[in-house]
Amino acid sequence: MNALSRFAADKTRSAGYGILVVAVILLGVIPLLMESLYSLHILVMVFFYVIAALSLRAIVISGQFPLGHAAFMGVGAYASGMAAKWLHLPPELTIPGAAVFTMIIGVMVAVSFSRLRALYYAMGSLFLGVAIIQILNAGGTWTGGYSGFSGITPMFGNSKVSWYYAALGLMILSAAALYRFEFSRIGTNMKAISQSHLVAESVGINEAKYRILAVAIGSFFVGLAGAGYAHYMGTIATSSYNFMATMWLFMYVLVGGVNNFFGPIVGSFILILIPEYFRSLKTYSPFISAGILFLFVYLMPGGFAGLIQAAVARVKSWRRERARDVAAD
């Protein structure tokens, strides 16, 4: 890397940090500017779903496609909700506890699935997700069954503004924790396995270990998101964690851009906020969501983050050319 391109890389990096800081500050002042509690409510939901989408991507980069991922959000939600309601434990304890519980279930599944690859893994996790939902449905009074689970211990006196900052903080912490995983050798090893497990094994990377680790990380954070969300909502139902819910998580990741860490964040914001904006159209709103999806898949195969990356690359090459012209003069 020559001095010039290093300079350009440093500049893009600091520009990236700048954007990040501005975004966090903006999100921080929104409750002061916005009157509508409903808008705050939507944003709190977005924050929880950002954690869930990031956790999904943490598994996807290791080359595994967990089609039952949303069911693990349900595991976290029900575990924390049930522990708080029936055992009268404080939510401050049950939320991290539920995240750890979800992680343990995830690891048990990952160990038994560690020989399954590609389509077989996807099928296995799909059926597992269905099974989890059925178990929760069959829970009688303990889980509320098909009619949903209500009366989950509230937090922060149900204040929307407090919840807003709590969820925002949880999202930023989770994102930072996951960022470290991806941009250390741990993430490199996972990406190596996803590109060729044979080569990865041949250079000494233990495939099973890193695949299980990816699922452990992903399950922990999706359990965390599910648990937080359950206490925020107060009432949950298994239909929020079925196969369709997993598909939505995949959409958030794909529309944002699967090759970029920030993809799931951008994707969750776009895909939750835009349908909300068109909510007044009632029946037609799903058509708009579908239309947006088509547009993204058709026009931006790299997702939204891919579009930004392409733009940055173009600016960089333009700047390099200009520097070369200046040098030639």
Binding site: S184, K191, A192, V199, E201, S202, V203, I205, L213
Partner: protein, 254 residues
């Protein structure tokens, strides 16, 4: 003796791919394992590196029984390998391919990796230096920022050698390093492999291209899963049985 293959047999259903095969590799040697297509060379290769377990027989490496060890354990113990097909970390650059392959040496724990400890930073700095040295050794340094999938075939194969060297192996096992190459790529690759040998690593080469003989100290010939001949490259080249295995029938009738 660095590698010892003892009475190795592998059956796939009714087919006996490797049948009571014996061989050894001494430290510092370059050994060629040659034979016609379908002779069982690659099967021996995969048995040694732990891709699948043998039906019977044993493999010893550096005094240790590695017979049923997993591929990543075999790599940790010091066998670096390449693949016959061009398997790559396709979306990594050439340099990233090599540094991602430096997982075994120098070693960082998960804790070091996650918390970016001083040891981890020192290891990573050493890894990027070594990766560049390896690319220079094999003549790939001008491609270091290229995506691996965009390299020409021959260079992808040499990238495989670079990746294997990144594991700091005691034994380098090359599976058909000249397969599918044009003459200029073959020249480039022979040079790269001899550079690797001169850096002091022991090499076992599986190949059916006889041009590889120029690099070998000793050659083992395998046909129908059995060893038919062993000796210096010249002895092997003149051996009647080898000639008939390669050309079919008796010498002169082919």
């Amino acid at each position: 003796m660095l590698l010892q293959i003892d009475n190795l047999t592998k059956r796939f259903g009714g087919l006996t791919a490797v049948d009571g095969f014996n061989a050894y590799v001494d430290e510092g040697e370059v050994v060629g394992l040659i034979g016609p297509n379908g002779a069982g060379k690659s099967t021996v290769f995969n048995l040694v590196t732990g891709v699948f377990p043998p039906t019977s027989g044993r493999v010893f490496f550096d005094g240790e029984d590695i017979t049923r060890k997993k591929p990543h354990t075999v790599a940790e113990l010091g066998i670096g390998r390449t693949f016959q097909m061009n398997l790559l970390f396709a979306d990594f650059t050439v340099l990233e391919n090599v540094s991602a392959s430096s997982h075994v040496y120098p070693r960082s724990s998960l804790f070091d990796m996650y918390f970016n400890t001083r040891r981890y930073r020192r290891n990573e700095a050493e890894i990027s230096d070594r990766a560049l040295q390896i690319l220079q050794l094999l003549g790939l340094e001008s491609y270091k920022d290229e995506l691996a999938k965009n390299l020409p075939h021959g260079y992808q194969k040499m990238l495989g050698v670079a990746r294997a060297l990144a594991t700091k192996p005691k034994l380098l096992m090359l599976d058909e390093p000249l397969g599918g190459m044009n003459p200029s790529e073959i020249d480039f690759s022979l040079q790269a492999i001899s550079n690797a040998r001169d850096s002091g690593v022991t090499v076992l080469i599986v190949e059916h291209n006889m041009q590889i003989l120029s690099l070998c100290d000793r050659v083992v010939v395998i046909s129908f899963g059995q060893k038919i001949c062993e000796g210096s490259p010249r002895e092997v080249r003149e051996n009647e049985e080898v000639i008939s295995a390669y050309f079919g029938g008796k010498h002169g009738s082919a």
